[in-house]
Symmetry: C2
Subunit: 107 residues, 2 copies
DNA sequence: TCATTAAATCAAGATATATTGATATATTTA
DNA sequence: TAAATATATCAATATATCTTGATTTAATGA
């Protein structure tokens, strides 16, 4: 069962779908940008990012204390189709709030 | 969110993955055949079949008191890819126990 | 109509997953 | 080294989903 079910489980949550769509739209973002944009408690966000990463959808690149998450490429066929479906969803996303740009985050 | 998340939710369960794989392998089967094969309580099976049907993976054809479930065709791209993934899984399936063939089910 | 069988539904308890607040880890800068 | 900030993890609770046993619905045939 393993990998496939983990991939499916990663998709099985509204919040994670939104995060995927958001990163697909805006490219790599650090946790604090996502946190500011979604107005979401940090531990919650961190958990969802972990599940998406372990589900094979995201990659992380660290720069100092910042962790930049982005859609992993290339995605395999199943994950690509999933992402394509997500692109077609009529969902409400937050506005991007890129506090980290100023070098000052203090989220 | 609607349809896509419902589709994903349908996939998000070991038992349902096995049922899909089983029906993909053996074609249309009635509930009692599945029940005998999987050794599963009827209400539990019925629930999973409902979720798979509502997730767009299965169709039902009624013949008298029997309800024959089978993989719905054609499947859209996402569901097809999902099924393809399921075909590649290394999972243990029960042996087909087709009691209904004799016209006597008494499951 | 009544009895029988297949399948669906419901309510209660069991299990899994998500959320929260607190704490831990790690990097940068003073 | 110490303080500050970003991120990850943990433990407790809240919420959702699954399982079970009982009941209901529906079709068949006596």
């Amino acid at each position: 069962m393993e990998v496939f079910l983990q991939t499916v489980a990663a998709l099985n949550d509204d919040t994670r779908i939104k995060i995927l769509r958001f990163l697909d739209t805006h490219g790599a973002l650090c946790v604090c940008d996502l946190q500011m944009s979604f107005g979401m408690i940090q531990s919650r966000l961190s958990r969802h990012l972990k599940i998406l990463k372990e589900g094979g959808f995201l990659r992380v690149e660290r720069h100092g204390t910042w962790a930049y998450y982005s859609i992993r490429t290339p995605l395999d066929r199943f994950r690509s189709e999933a992402l394509e479906e997500i692109r077609c969803l009529d969902i409400e996303l937050p506005i991007l709030n890129k506090t980290s740009q100023n070098g000052e985050c203090k989220v």
